[in-house]
């Protein structure tokens, strides 16, 4: 399956787009997503360990399911305030 991922800040800067498509195995979790991102988007590989993943506007864990209807975003360390 293909999922769309929103990018912000340094992640968006490195890829040059605000959204990317990632190909995932069936019934994927965030853990599968992390592996696929590192493989399909090498410019993100070194920062991925520092990036949190949000599924439906909530921070996800590696076991969170990534259904096709959900909104997914990469959240680099935040610097608001």
């Amino acid at each position: 399956m293909i999922v769309n991922i929103k990018l912000f800040a340094v992640a968006r800067q490195r890829i040059g787009h605000g959204t990317i498509e990632v190909e995932l195995p069936a019934d994927p979790t965030v853990s599968h997503l992390r592996a696929a991102l590192a493989e399909q988007y090498p410019p993100l590989a070194d920062i991925l360990p520092h990036i949190r993943i949000a599924v439906n506007n909530e921070y996800a864990t590696d076991t969170t399911k990534v259904a096709s209807a959900t909104e997914i975003a990469l959240i680099p360390p935040v610097s608001g305030g």
């Binding site: 520092h50 949000a54 921070y59 959240i75 680099p76 360390p77 610097s79 608001g80 305030g81």
Partner: protein, 154 residues
């Protein structure tokens, strides 16, 4: 109440949001654009956010603060887009019957916002380069050291 805006922050309006006859204390925190960070000069800042999640997280933090402390009022506004030196990027106003609660809630809110709300700052350095700030990632996080109060005996 929480808000995201691309307009300059009006601190008087933020204070008005938490004004109440039940309050004996009002604390206002402003985060402002600093010119020098570790000797490097900033020309301006740009802020971006993940809008829906940022609003949701700010609202959750307001609710959590109201659950932890007996607040009379709580108002958080974060600015987005381009900021000049000295301009406020965030205002947090809290009111409560007594001051200790207002200080504690205000401190907790700004500290927690800086950890969990998906908002990012881009430094536009005076030398013409730009850099997204990602604490722990880029090594340029603007973490100020906590220092004790300055005590002068004269």
């Amino acid at each position: 109440m929480i808000s995201l805006t691309d307009q300059p922050i009006d601190s008087s309006a933020a204070l008005a949001q938490v004004a109440s006859h039940d309050a004996g204390a009002v604390v206002l925190f402003l985060g402002t654009t600093r010119e020098f960070t570790r000797g490097r000069r900033t020309a301006s800042l740009d802020y971006e956010c993940y809008p829906q999640m940022a609003e949701q997280k700010l609202a959750e933090l307001e609710a959590e603060a109201r659950g932890r402390w007996p607040l009379t009022g709580c108002f958080i506004i974060h600015r987005l887009g381009h900021l000049k030196l000295g301009e406020a990027s965030i205002a947090i106003a809290v009111s409560s019957p007594h001051r200790a609660v207002a200080f504690a809630a205000g401190q907790w809110l700004i500290d927690t916002i800086k950890e969990v709300v998906p908002i990012w700052k881009c430094e536009n350095w005076a030398d013409g380069t730009t850099e997204w700030v990602h604490p722990g990632l880029t090594g340029n996080e603007n973490q100020s050291k906590i220092e004790g109060p300055i005590t002068k005996h004269q």
